[in-house]
Symmetry: C2
Subunit: 487 residues, 2 copies
């Protein structure tokens, strides 16, 4: 009575047919089946052209259909409209068109799912703003399909790079009751407010309170206030001081009310942490990482990168090739300030040692002073950097580094961590942070402390950098921003 499971059946995808050096010519004469969504339909007097895309690559399969092919009645009935899904059986033939080497001479078509004329992704160009309101359909466009594939390649290249270098992936927690980074703009996570079904009609009075009228956290799920993580770094450090080299790759959150094209409320972050490592190791790792993933995308996403190069940012392939091959520039913050003071360029924000570098300064350095080469700036004033960064011997700077790239600006921020317990405690005192809540972080310095360093990289910034996509909301499938958590 019990049956056995069959083989994992692999569909033939359009990329399987069209990719490869012969672009499908080796399959001429084969009968095969393609399944996908209709991009365009052109009915001509003698023949009908149907462009089908299955998302496996940018290219459509051009299906050429005579009126005697099986299922032609569906063309006549208007069922094969843009957006419809079809099953097509045909014979691969050399194409006369210039866009592709092969096409499919249709033997039989079946419409799997119709699409009515209200389908919002028609052939005509639509704005990215409009497409954000159709986030469930936008991956069916050329641009968003290409972004999704390049994003996927960048993610897999990230895992490959770290795995090949012996790093262990660690999932840092998303919900945390630990007051780690000295707060910042966090989202509260609670069950004191009812489930989604009832939330809209929920009275404030229904929230449990103590006799003093305060929120009664003892009744909350975690028994205390809990928040969405802003960074997995401190958690990653616990694993780096046990397994040596680790990395996180997971979502992080900022509740900053900034509606810009550079910020998301929910974004994915990559945070490697290296044990027995200093700032030089950290910079070398960040450089090797970026060169690796850029090379991976140039080699594995040629068609999509050509698309970005033509339609989104001219010259992006050359720019990325440069990044993959050339040495990055490295300089100290102090030298960077000197460079900025010497230039004749007028800045909106005045430059002075001790100030945080503004976007205009960063862009001048990487885009103008060094002609588009990534620049790593190190040894920032300690006052403008986080408590956990290692103090340099000069007493006024810390072993921090930022990697700046053209257009995107700061792509990577990292530092050597303060491994000396007494320095770390003093810094927490300076900043009036509560040492008790860092008990476990300080334990890492009490028991077998080691020099260690790491960096953080916002994954969507990397997607922007690699694709030329201008607005970060188009670099993630479902963007979250103030007032917007749809889908």
């Amino acid at each position: 009575m019990a049956e056995k499971i069959g083989e994992f059946r692999k569909k033939l995808r359009i990329v399987d047919i069209m990719a490869g050096p012969d672009e499908g010519l080796g399959r001429v004469g084969q009968t095969l089946v393609v399944m996908g969504w209709v991009r365009t339909l052109r009915v001509q007097s003698s023949v009908t052209f149907i462009e089908v895309n299955d998302g496996s690559c940018l290219s459509n399969m051009q299906c050429v259909m005579d009126s005697d092919a099986e299922g032609y009645d569906q063309v006549e009935a208007g069922s094969i409209a843009t957006g419809a899904s079809i099953w097509v059986q045909g014979i691969v033939a050399a194409s006369k068109g210039s866009k592709q080497k092969v096409e499919l001479k249709v033997k039989k078509i079946i419409v799997l799912g119709k699409s009515d004329p209200s389908y919002p992704i028609q052939k005509k160009r639509v704005s990215r703003e409009f497409l954000r309101t159709k986030a469930h359909l936008r991956p069916r466009t050329n641009t968003f399909g290409a972004v999704a594939r390049v994003r996927n390649a960048l993610a897999f290249a990230t895992h490959k790079f770290f795995q090949e270098h012996g790093f262990v992936w660690v999932s840092s927690p998303i919900v945390t009751a630990s007051d780690c980074e000295g707060a910042g703009e966090q989202f509260c996570v609670t069950t004191l407010i009812p489930n989604s079904g009832e939330a809209f009609d929920s009275p404030v009075d229904a929230i449990p309170k103590t006799k003093d009228g305060l929120i009664d956290w003892s009744q909350d799920f975690f028994g205390k206030p809990a928040f969405l993580t802003v960074s997995g770094q401190l958690n990653a450090e616990t694993y780096a001081t046990a397994l040596s080299d680790v990395y996180t790759f997971g979502p992080t959150f900022r509740a900053e009310n900034s509606n810009t094209s550079r910020h998301l409320a929910e974004f994915w972050m990559i945070e490697p942490e290296l044990a027995f490592a200093d700032l030089n190791d950290d910079m070398a790792c960040a450089t090797a990482y970026l060169q690796y993933v850029v090379t991976y995308v140039l080699e594995n996403c040629k068609e999509d990168m050509d698309f970005f190069n033509t339609w989104i940012e001219k010259g992006i392939i050359d720019r990325l090739s440069d990044v993959a091959e050339k040495d990055f520039v490295q300089m100290t913050y102090t030298d960077a300030i000197e460079l900025l003071l010497k230039t004749n360029k007028k800045f909106e924000f005045p430059v002075k040692w001790g100030c945080d570098l503004q976007s205009e300064h960063e862009r001048y350095i990487t885009e103008e002073a060094f002609g588009g080469c990534p620049v790593i700036i190190r040894d920032y004033p300690k006052e403008i950097k986080a408590f956990y960064m290692r103090q340099n011997d000069d007493g006024r700077t810390v072993a921090a580094m930022d990697m700046l790239v053209p257009r995107v600006g700061e792509l990577i921020g990292g530092s050597q961590r303060e491994e000396r317990l007494e320095y770390l405690e003093a810094r927490l005192d300076d900043l009036k942070l509560n040492k008790d809540s860092y008990w476990w972080y300080l334990d890492l310095r009490r028991y077998g402390s080691v020099p260690h360093a790491g960096f953080g990289l916002g994954f969507e910034r990397l997607v922007q950098f690699a694709t030329g996509i201008e607005n970060i909301r188009d670099a993630i499938p479902f963007p979250r921003a103030p007032g917007s958590a749809e889908f």
Copy 2:
């Protein structure tokens, strides 16, 4: 003034020395440096043995030190205690011990970080419950180091499997205002409650309210109630109906107040979604996936698996090898009920067509009836399954499947999705779910609907299955459960 970045310097790890067919013998005579944490120190009359671990593998490097080696004074001073981190330079020598092939004859030792006697991870055995209170130090134990490495291997194997089969990784959103699964036990995400610094002293009255005393969601970050996702499936479907085959691998959340060894409030889930696929494709994919990752771990984590086989679950290697090689059993729910009714075994929960299978039933089927072979049960009664599952022609079952494995029970749950708009709408009506809030999900059936199927797998269950670890809280770096969101 600007310097160039150096090569990405790769440390020599203990695994680099000890792994490989000769277990390090090829390096005998080489002088090299190892960095790690002291596991044990044994001072004997003529010689001192120091076991060092760097987390790259289970094995320690045995360092043998004469009293004339540089840095021996640190042994005498008690600085080289369990937990301390050290830098050791020495010559690789063949080992006389039976535990390892090579050891390090110490030339020089430097203590990088001392460890005082309060260090909680001493040589003596400690309970896993205790170690959960030291989640920042537990990866330094044999068990948790091995779990971390196998978890890492399972994660990478997951990406490799799907990438090799042409799936695109999609990050489904974590925060969502979309009332997707008909609620369930969700966490609310809000900025109406202050940041962590002030949360403890926050009065309920400070929460903004409408004139009717209801929570004023218009003032919240997203302008409406928002929740942590319970599943990325519906979002993944939007990408599957554009890119064909996709998968998610990200955190999901359940606010169920269940303090069991099988549940976490925050866990990682893998959710592939296959376009142009039915339930048979889905089962075949789930089978191929599980066999792939199990094989990967058996091949790439031999030492850690030997450890689990000896200390955690005897026979786990044979069990996993069986899973990797043998065909899985497949049967319908109706047949499974018949099987359960026929057995003489007494169950706590009575068996009847229409009931949900309980853990005792599932374990009987996979552990007893089929002798430890994974069993896939398909075609469940529609009343006990989710609204989006495809109705079978019999009108009373849906094309759903669960994969049961010994000990863990349900490891995978999946289904073919209802691609027919009219059936889906009728089902939403039946269940009194609000059709308007599914507008975008229904759009996928309005525009180019396709047969598609997918499944979900709780990653920590997979870690339990592959390691034999009994409590799910030990299968994730920082477990979240009722009353516990530490670290």
